[in-house]
């Protein structure tokens, strides 16, 4: 897209897509839903609401095709991807990234990052 419209009003800022896929995992991986994504998604929504965050949307999504990092979510328009495991992880994203504009570096996954150790092991075992 042309770059002439940065700073224009966004409907949701940010718009977060949380993978809640149940049965589409790429070979050697486990679906986000089987790794607790639904609870984390519910907790993230509740935590954002408790903290009075508005103007955002935490959206359900099907497979985001980053199964190696499950449970996975993406924050747009920034295009920051997070692998989350615990309630504290999603709380950190709400507090730091959404409320203060500071991405949570320890949870970010980016192209070129090595997949987590245990998944490497699974892949090698196959």
């Amino acid at each position: 897209m042309n770059d002439g419209d940065s700073g224009r009003k966004l409907l949701y800022d940010p718009h977060i897509f949380f993978c809640l896929e149940e049965n589409q995992a790429q070979p050697g991986h486990t679906c986000c839903a089987e790794k607790g994504a639904m609870d984390l998604f519910g907790h993230m929504r509740a935590f954002a609401k408790q903290n009075g965050v508005t103007g955002i949307r935490i959206n359900r999504a099907s497979c985001l095709k980053r199964c190696e990092n499950a449970p996975i979510m993406v924050v747009y328009p920034e295009g920051v991807w997070y692998a989350v495991r615990t309630k504290e992880d999603v709380e950190a994203i709400v507090k730091s990234h959404i409320m203060e504009g500071r991405p949570v570096d320890r949870l970010i996954v980016a192209p070129g990052d090595a997949a987590p150790q245990e998944l490497d092991a699974v892949e090698k075992a196959e």
Binding site: M1, H15, A61, S62, K65, Y76, P77, E78, G79, A110
Partner: protein, 437 residues
């Protein structure tokens, strides 16, 4: 591509998220799934793959709270929202936005938009290249694209609407070869008793004139899986039948063409019909006395097993064919009416409607149609024939019991109860119809 600051490289340069949310049946807000969201998402995924667009991914999303405007999608990191309602829209988004980097403004959903944008009528500019007197009261008209390019493709049975200078909109079947996109051939019967569209065309249209027409729409398609086809035309009803015969020639399919007119002199497109249908053509001239006309029992009785019959012409002919083919089953009998002659004495009663996309309640009084009431509420609903023949005003119905009065939906479509022609059909008395408007 991205217009926003990035903290990391992107996994996907373009991430398309399509809402496919499915609400319970009859939910008054409806949902993107019921508006076709999933099929469109599949089309987008397929086209992205076919076109080899790299680093683009398509994901199914849950509700994105744009239900009244759906089906909705958002493209990130651009943060551009779109609605789309047909495959042409999907194609334009792919060609223009994904490949060309240009937003498709007519489909963009603005951040604060709550209601559907008024739709501009999508008209084609054409130039009249030929006008001929076929008979004393039928003219043939050939039009070409005003810019000299190809006209949109169409299939046999399709029609276009001509917009007259007097603001009328009249439907005419395309009689030309569906494979030929350089021109369209129309046949226009002068009908002094009608609402004036054909008289205007007869008296005013000449070679070199510019006209506006709608894109082709097909309510009368061929079923090319049938083993044989019986084509029956009455008078000006020959126009879509001509296109069908051309298509069937191209498919090397078996067909018979029965062309019913009063007299040989009053028979339009004779040269074309004879050249195209050859030995498959039979004329039936009744001299104005139907008892001397086509013997439908014989024509249909001799039809090959599994044949489909297609009839276009006056309602009396269509009714006769439908009656004679009553045992054939609806899927084997295809017809297109050019004008409605209501033969039922309907009683109109008031009923309520709820417009789902606008969250608006309205009442349709006994003496008004849904189309009129919706227009009075400031909504520019599209229509053409306003007689329940053309399907231009067709609207999806989310819930409520419909009293169908159109001539176009099949018995099955009517029984499903999820769509209606708002120009003539109504809600049952005391009923509330929830419409996808």
């Amino acid at each position: 591509m991205a217009s926003q600051p990035q903290h990391t490289d992107l996994f996907y340069e373009t991430h398309i998220l399509c809402c496919c949310n499915q609400r319970p049946e009859g939910h008054p807000r409806s949902c993107c799934a019921d508006r076709g969201g999933r099929n469109f998402m599949e089309s987008i995924s397929r086209r992205v793959a076919e076109m080899g667009l790299t680093n683009v991914t398509v994901t199914e999303a849950g509700c994105m709270e744009r239900c009244e405007l759906g089906p909705a999608m958002v493209i990130y990191p651009d943060a551009v929202w779109y609605t789309y309602e047909n495959e042409d829209d999907v194609e334009e988004i792919i060609e223009s936005h994904l490949k060309g980097g240009q937003r498709v403004e007519r489909l963009v959903l603005d951040p604060d938009q709550k209601l559907p944008k008024p739709k501009a009528l999508d008209l084609l500019d054409v130039v009249v290249s030929d006008v001929r007197d076929e008979t004393a009261d039928i003219k043939s008209i050939v039009v070409k694209a005003a810019d000299g390019g190809d006209l949109p493709k169409f299939e046999a049975g399709a029609h276009i609407d001509v917009i007259t200078a007097t603001g009328l909109r009249r439907s005419y079947s395309l009689a030309s070869n569906p494979g030929d996109r350089s021109s369209y051939l129309l046949g226009v019967l002068r009908e002094p008793a009608s609402r004036g569209g054909s008289v205007w065309i007869h008296d005013n249209v000449k070679p070199g004139d510019r006209l506006q027409i709608t894109r082709p729409l097909n309510n009368f398609p061929l079923d090319d899986s049938a083993p044989a086809h019986i084509l029956i035309a009455g008078g000006i009803g020959i126009t879509p039948i001509l296109a069908m015969a051309r298509t069937l020639n191209g498919l090397d399919a078996k067909y018979q063409l029965h062309y019913c007119t009063r007299t040989p002199e009053g028979t339009a497109f004779r040269k074309e019909v004879e050249a195209i249908a050859g030995d498959s053509l039979t004329y039936h001239h009744d001299g104005g006395d139907p008892s001397r006309g086509i013997k439908l029992d014989e024509v249909l009785g001799d039809a090959p097993a599994g044949a489909h019959v297609y009839v276009c012409g006056p309602k009396t002919l269509i009714d006769a064919v439908r009656a004679a083919a009553a045992e054939w089953g609806e899927e084997r009998v295809h017809f297109e009416l050019f004008s409605a002659a209501p033969d039922q004495n309907y009683i109109n009663e008031p009923f309520d409607i709820y417009l789902s996309r606008r969250r608006m309640d309205l009442t349709v009084p006994a003496d008004r149609t849904i189309l009129e009431v919706v227009r009075e509420a400031g909504i520019n609903a599209d229509s053409s024939c306003e007689q329940g023949l053309c399907s231009t005003c067709q609207v999806r119905v989310i819930s409520g019991e419909i009293e169908h009065r159109d001539q176009i939906l099949s018995t099955q479509d009517k029984a499903r109860g999820d769509t209606m022609m708002i120009c003539v059909s109504r809600g049952k008395a005391g009923e509330k119809l929830v419409l996808d408007l």
